[in-house]
């Protein structure tokens, strides 16, 4: 110990960890050897033989191993606190210290359970669950409670009425939760509302280019409302085949549809525009949730996928300043289907 004082802890720590590693390795080896031996000597039991047995292990090496594991767990746990207290503690370091402590604890408990304490195999008898005589006693006690009552039906009916009344009263406050379904038909889109982007900038007809799609929101309205989001695209004239009633809904080939998929309410965010005519089936909107695919040139007709309805279209107009505006509200409900979603449609 003539080394400098600053070197002593290093050597001490080295020695301790070497001893610990040695002891751990020996204990583990012995434990496995013991198990292997046990497996070889055990012989199958004869039918009807009592399998109970109890071995007192009395294994000093296992004691050492468990002690080492527990000390290690304690040190790791303290390390966690130290790491936590240190500024800028990393999530990874916290996990390794706390997880390490728990892992060592687990190892300690399992080694103790398998090699330290008496190993016991025991037999327990199961209860007979149905005991006829006891069952009859219980039935008699219950039935004896109704002795002397003559008008059972009257009482049962009265109790039933009371129960039904109380139950109804108990669920009545649920009605204060609502619902008022009016809002299901509402969107912020009215005639004249300008289409703006997510920064509030109005779209002009010139900005809307063929081959891209744009997300449009209503000016001066809540962008977070379900019906606010629109898909805005421009298609060449030969791609547009709208029903006759919608002929003037797409001025200059600019079309707008609700962005909310009529299948399950996700925002549609995929746009397929043909770049290679021979193999492409045409422009399409696709919802990334369940891949309902709609045709923008055909009034939102469903091309593929699970949606039960076409994509709702919003009629557009272009004002004198070349801004794109809604020409009318949606003619149908946007969003997922429900009982009356097709009202007014033949």
């Amino acid at each position: 110990m003539s080394d400098g004082p600053h070197r002593r802890p290093t050597r001490l720590r080295g020695t301790i960890s070497m001893i610990a590693a040695l002891l751990t390795a020996r204990a583990l080896r012995d434990a496995f050897a013991r198990r292997r031996q046990a497996r070889v000597t055990s012989r199958p039991l004869r039918t009807g033989e009592d399998p109970s047995q109890r071995d007192v292990a009395a294994n000093r090496r296992a004691e050492t191993l468990v002690a080492i594991l527990l000390v290690g767990a304690g040190l790791f746990a303290f390390a966690f606190t130290i790491v936590y207290a240190a500024a800028g503690a990393s999530t990874q370091l916290l996990a390794v210290t706390l997880g390490g402590a728990l892992a060592l604890l687990a190892a300690g408990a399992i080694v103790a359970g398998k090699a330290l304490v008496p190993q016991e195999k025991s037999v327990e008898q199961r209860d007979v669950l149905l005991k006829e005589d006891e069952l009859h006693e219980v039935l008699e006690i219950i039935e004896s409670g109704g002795e002397g009552i003559s008008r059972r039906k009257l009482l049962a009916g009265a109790a039933g009425l009371a129960g039904a009344g109380v139950l109804t009263a108990a669920v009545t406050p649920l009605a204060s939760l609502g619902p008022d379904l009016d809002a299901i038909h509402q969107t912020p889109w009215r005639r004249g509302v300008r289409l703006v982007d997510d920064q509030g900038r109005p779209y002009t007809a010139e900005e809307v280019q063929i081959g891209s799609f744009y997300t449009a929101l209503p000016e001066h309205a809540d962008p977070g409302a379900f019906g606010s989001g629109l898909l805005l695209v421009k298609l060449p004239a030969d791609r547009i085949h709208l029903p006759p009633a919608r002929r003037d809904w797409a001025p200059e080939g600019i079309l707008a549809y609700s962005k909310i998929c009529p299948h399950a309410g996700c925002a549609i965010s995929l746009y397929r525009y043909p770049t290679y005519q021979p193999t492409s089936v045409g422009p399409a909107f696709t919802c990334p949730c369940h891949y309902s695919t709609f045709s923008p040139g055909e009034g939102g007709r469903l091309m593929f996928g699970p949606a039960g309805r076409a994509l709702p279209q919003l009629p557009l107009m272009i004002d004198a300043e070349r801004n794109v505006r809604a020409a009318a509200p949606f003619r149908e409900d946007i969003g997922p289907s429900w009982w009356s979603v097709r009202r007014g449609q033949s």
Partner: protein, 488 residues
């Protein structure tokens, strides 16, 4: 030393005995016997994951703010600074970036939820394929199934609270499924969300109460019932030497089993802490805040919701109408009818099996799956049906990674989802019969001995393995694995 220790223990026990008189119950509990088989640990893993969930969840509730009030983010995560978002989402970001160990606990909680549901599903598979659900444990099997349903619901509610883009998309789908309930769907959806999606200011507080109080409370009651019932009936056990219908052979709780089980608790905790800190899960700051007009491509839910996504994708656009009314909106099929059918079949199975086999007896010994080829085959076919639909949930990723056209995959699986389970049924039944016939254990070493019947009716061990037996005597060995020599 030993005397003093004994004295102290005595004093403690005396203290509680004078007040509670519980020594008989304590003795019964300490000597309670657990059968030794690794598959019995799956339920314990679920229980321990639940404990971790409660512990980490309590920490999270102290920071989470269930509010949809819109605020501007000014926290340390530069990419979202200046972004408009709900207070709920901001509180999750702050929890992840500002609270020491907050991210660790949040990720532990998320991982624990995934492990929790997985452990329940594996536990359920063990229960099914070994026939452990039969009388007297059918009631407990129903409780377990109920907990599985609640676990899926609880997990979904949990990851929906964050109000990030992914959770908002999930809630939009949930809202659509609610609306898809025939006749009353819209009323129900409006009731839950407090109005048109994305809902009123009441919605997130409601969802939080469901997630942190109502469902956990139901779990506390159901877990207590689950354990109390199994302790009353005792565990099942595989057949083996000395094991009978009327007894249970294994390790008593005290001390060896208790220590091993505590070890398992710590092991589960250790794994969850390590993956929670080292493997990123649900990095909400990457998804960004949710607004109804936004969505993300390639979005995938937590794994236990995958089967519902698959069903929603696989379903053709069938939406029957009646007199201008929409009778069954499409999301009903995949989002509600399919999971309810799966659970209804699992709930009905014990009664169906009793009816078909005419076996109304009590069963405390387990079946080996191969010994019941038809049940095992039905279970495997059913499982494959659900797993295919689960896999369909990732068709978009298969398209992106492997370039198999999405639409062709859907067309293929709309047929395959019915054909493949039939193939699985016949293949499983054949494999079971082959295993039964040969008595082989492809997945494990030989353990046991070859025994021969003597002239006087007794048995003797002739060799330690079939190979030795072949060398020792030419006659065919009678006995096989220990599992088959008990009195069945």
């Amino acid at each position: 030393m030993a005397v003093r220790r004994r004295h102290r223990l005595q004093r403690g026990m005396r203290f509680s005995e004078e007040r509670l008189g519980a020594s008989r119950a304590i003795k019964w509990a300490l000597r309670y016997v657990f059968p030794d088989h690794w598959t019995f640990l799956l339920g314990e893993i679920a229980l321990y994951a639940f404990i971790i969930l409660v512990a980490s969840g309590i920490f999270l509730t102290l920071y989470y703010v269930p509010s949809d009030t819109q605020v501007i983010y000014r926290g340390p995560y530069a990419l979202l600074r200046g972004e408009q978002m709900s207070e709920a989402y901001r509180s999750v970001l702050d929890l992840s970036f500002n609270v020491p160990a907050g991210l660790l606990v949040r990720q532990i909680h998320h991982w624990a939820a995934d492990v929790f549901v997985a452990a329940i599903v594996l536990h359920l598979m063990r229960i099914f394929f070994t026939g452990a659900y039969r009388k007297p444990r059918d009631l407990n099997y129903f409780i377990g199934l109920t907990m599985l349903m609640l676990a899926i619901l609880e997990g979904f509610a949990g990851y929906s609270l964050g109000d990030d883009l992914l959770s908002g998309m999930g809630l939009a789908i949930a809202y659509s499924v609610a609306l898809a309930i025939p006749f009353v769907g819209a009323q129900l959806g409006f009731l839950i969300w407090g109005g048109q999606f994305p809902g009123s200011a009441d919605f997130l507080p409601r969802l939080e109460i469901v997630h942190v109080l109502l469902i956990p409370l139901a779990f506390a009651v159901l877990i207590t019932m689950h354990l109390a019932m199994i302790m009353r009936q005792h565990h099942t056990q595989f057949p083996g030497p000395g094991r009978r219908e009327r007894n249970v052979v294994g390790t008593p709780l005290w001390p060896a089993y208790a220590l091993r089980s505590i070890g398992l608790l710590f092991a589960v905790a250790a794994v969850l802490v390590l993956v929670g800190g080292l493997i990123q899960i649900n990095p909400v700051w990457q998804w960004g805040p949710y607004h109804p007009y936004l969505s993300e491509n390639g979005a995938q839910p937590d794994w236990y919701i995958g089967w519902l996504i698959g069903a929603l994708r696989l379903m053709p656009n069938f939406e029957p109408t009646i007199a201008g009314h929409t009778l069954i909106p499409n999301p009903f099929w995949g989002g509600l009818a399919f999971p309810l059918l799966v659970f209804a079949m699992m709930f009905a199975w014990p009664a169906i099996e009793r009816r078909v086999t005419g076996d109304y007896r009590r069963h405390d010994l387990l079946d080996r799956p191969r010994d019941r080829p038809v049940r095992t085959a039905i279970g495997a076919a059913f499982l494959s049906w659900v797993v295919i639909i689960f896999a369909v949930g990732s068709t978009d990723r298969i398209f992106v990674r492997l370039h198999v056209p999405y639409e062709e995959q859907i067309h293929f699986w709309r047929v395959g989802v019915w054909l493949l389970p039939i193939i699985v049924f016949f293949a499983t039944r054949q494999i079971c019969r082959w295993l039964q016939r040969t008595g082989s254990h492809p997945l494990r070493d030989w353990e046991g001995a070859v025994i021969a019947r003597r002239r006087d009716g007794g048995f003797e061990v002739v060799a330690d393995s079939p190979q030795d037996a072949g060398a020792a005597e030419p006659g065919p060995p009678i006995g096989t694995a220990p599992g088959q020599e008990s009195e069945l």
